[in-house]
Assembly symmetry: C2
Homo-oligomer: 352 residues x 2
């Protein structure tokens, strides 16, 4: 028996250490590299016979194209960079879901970077992402470091700032006015006769949107001659438990409060649960409102008043802008989509 003709089993299952190239497919199919490339990209005219030969060879070899080389040669990168502050706040995954929904029916693919609300981190992440030469960039907020703004302007690609419209966008912008959201909630609250109003929000100075809501809120109250009489802040991520604890503290300190405005639904829901557990009459004794329009609220015993921030629509609209701009090379930029924050009154606002 001819032992040296026996192929060892381990080699039979060989994992190619060098990834396959177009050339491998070219050799296997007996067709030029260029034609293989055409078949694999569905470009140009290729005869059916050739196409099938190539596809068969590519499939049987398990060829996976190298997009790095392709992108370098064609100067086209089907990536959209998305920069968000956090994944823990469900708002951002929801935006991403809307965004992916639209991109899914396009050749584009999103790549996500997270900043943890740090402008320095944002700058790093942005630099890193731009170095992959994406076709567009979507980022949360209008506040960026000077260096970040410079990079964005110099990038020459569509830039869409999302979530917030209060400020000067670099290029396109999709979001709501958080100042207006705060103002409208304040007006509704005063309209219902509340006068002793408390605010509960994050300590985070870099959460500009929460800050703007608060500013709009106090500004509108001031017009009615009303001041926020107490405030309570929390660190880190929001949770029902923090909402409970903050609510307990602020009410212990300022028992005469008749309304609590929370900077998001999660802590608002915590406060609501706390008050219901205590047997407090909501909204008879004290009214409540949150922010975001989270689905979570639909399942509570009493529906918390809130304001819809239109998260998934923001994601979808941003994606659409990028797609349009890429489709029409010389379309002008600067699109502006301001969604209207809508109050969802729920059952914690209107006293019957």
């Amino acid at each position: 028996m001819d032992n040296d003709k026996v192929v060892p089993l381990t080699k039979g299952m060989k994992t190619p250490q060098r990834p396959l190239t177009l050339k491998d497919v070219s050799v296997a199919s007996g067709v030029s590299e260029m034609t293989v490339s055409r078949v694999l990209r569905n470009r140009g005219d290729v005869s059916d016979a050739t196409r099938e030969k190539v596809l068969k060879a590519a499939k049987s070899l398990g060829y996976v194209p190298n997009k790095i080389a392709g992108a370098l040669a064609s100067n086209r990168v089907n990536l959209v960079a998305v920069i968000i502050p956090s994944l823990s706040n469900m708002v951002f995954p929801e935006v991403l879901t809307g965004l992916n929904e639209v991109l899914d029916s396009s050749p584009l693919q999103s790549v996500v970077g997270v900043t943890n609300y740090s402008p320095e981190k944002e700058e790093q992440v942005l630099f890193e992402m731009l170095s992959w030469r994406p076709s567009g960039i979507i980022l949360a907020g209008l506040e960026h470091s000077d260096a970040s703004r410079a990079m964005l302007k110099a990038s020459g690609i569509p830039v869409v700032e999302i979530m917030d419209t209060d400020g000067e966008p670099i290029d396109a912008v999709v979001g709501i006015s958080h100042r207006r959201a705060g103002r409208e909630m304040a007006r509704q609250i005063t309209r219902y006769g509340y006068r002793n109003i408390g605010f509960l929000g994050t300590k985070m100075p870099m959460d500009h949107r929460a800050r703007k809501r608060f500013e709009g809120f106090t500004e509108a109250l001031a017009k009615e001659g009303i001041e926020v009489i107490d405030q309570e802040f929390y660190d880190g991520g929001s949770s029902l438990l923090k909402g409970r604890e903050m609510t307990e503290r602020i009410l212990k300190r300022s028992p005469k409060l008749d309304f609590l405005y929370y900077s998001n639904d999660m802590i608002g829901a915590g406060g609501l649960l706390y008050l219901l557990d205590k047997g407090v009459d909501v909204p008879g004794k004290i009214g409540l409102a949150g922010f975001n329009g989270t689905e979570l609220l639909d399942g509570l015993s009493r529906k918390l008043a809130t304001m819809d921030a239109g998260r998934d629509e923001i994601g979808r609209a941003a994606a659409r802008i990028i797609l349009e701009r890429i489709a029409d090379e010389d379309m002008k930029g600067g699109q502006r989509i301001e969604l209207s924050p809508r109050i969802q009154e729920g059952e914690t606002l209107k006293r019957s």
Copy 2:
């Protein structure tokens, strides 16, 4: 006045349409491209004088390196592909957060793809991601199409399957045994004397982990001679509201149920809120348990029994495996980390 010497303001602020290259920096600094490259990557010996000249030029031009070209030339890509079924289920953002936490102190950057629980979509996303030649890949679950498994094996990069350990991993695996999680919960439930047990879960046939928990659960019950007497299923994402509605339906149908096992905390919490609103004695009249160990539960009036799935630790461990494998080129693969699901009894399990 010499009008044709006036530089239009709009041109003064010119946005370079051709992105800058190493050569631009080389010309601006009077140093060879090669040396510029060395400075920007901190490789090799460069005199301080040269270094400063280069950095100054790069900064003032606003040069952003082209990683596509760099990756092609060096055959190194600092990307880790991560493939998850969904962003709507907070479990996955939590895993990503743990993962990014570890990758943050490394040169690696995660890139996320979402499959919507579809094996075909997973295959597409995987192909797309592999074509960027990432340094490693992390994906949820052990169930993949044959083509996906073939691509993963042929990729020659570290592959870490996460969340689940019940099955044959392709390479490394980090997760919990969902069968065991189901079994342990079943044992605890029977230990506390419950006998008329209902199950509430997703319709989704592709949620293998929920399926395995249910299998482990019924298997352990069977050993005690107990059968699940009723089941209720939901479509789409989980929510408190769906939990409420399902709970109402199953109890209307099977009033003698004395325990409800939910396939996740969100619907479990909905059920709990429903029962508390109805004034039902929990767990005196009926016991409840969910799954995941979500932080959400800490803020409910009564803490729901659950089981910790160790989401962020799974993300961190997966990232560490990738980092080790990349650091030590010829380290063997096949790492296996099975975390222990731990019951959190809460206040809806043990009858006092």
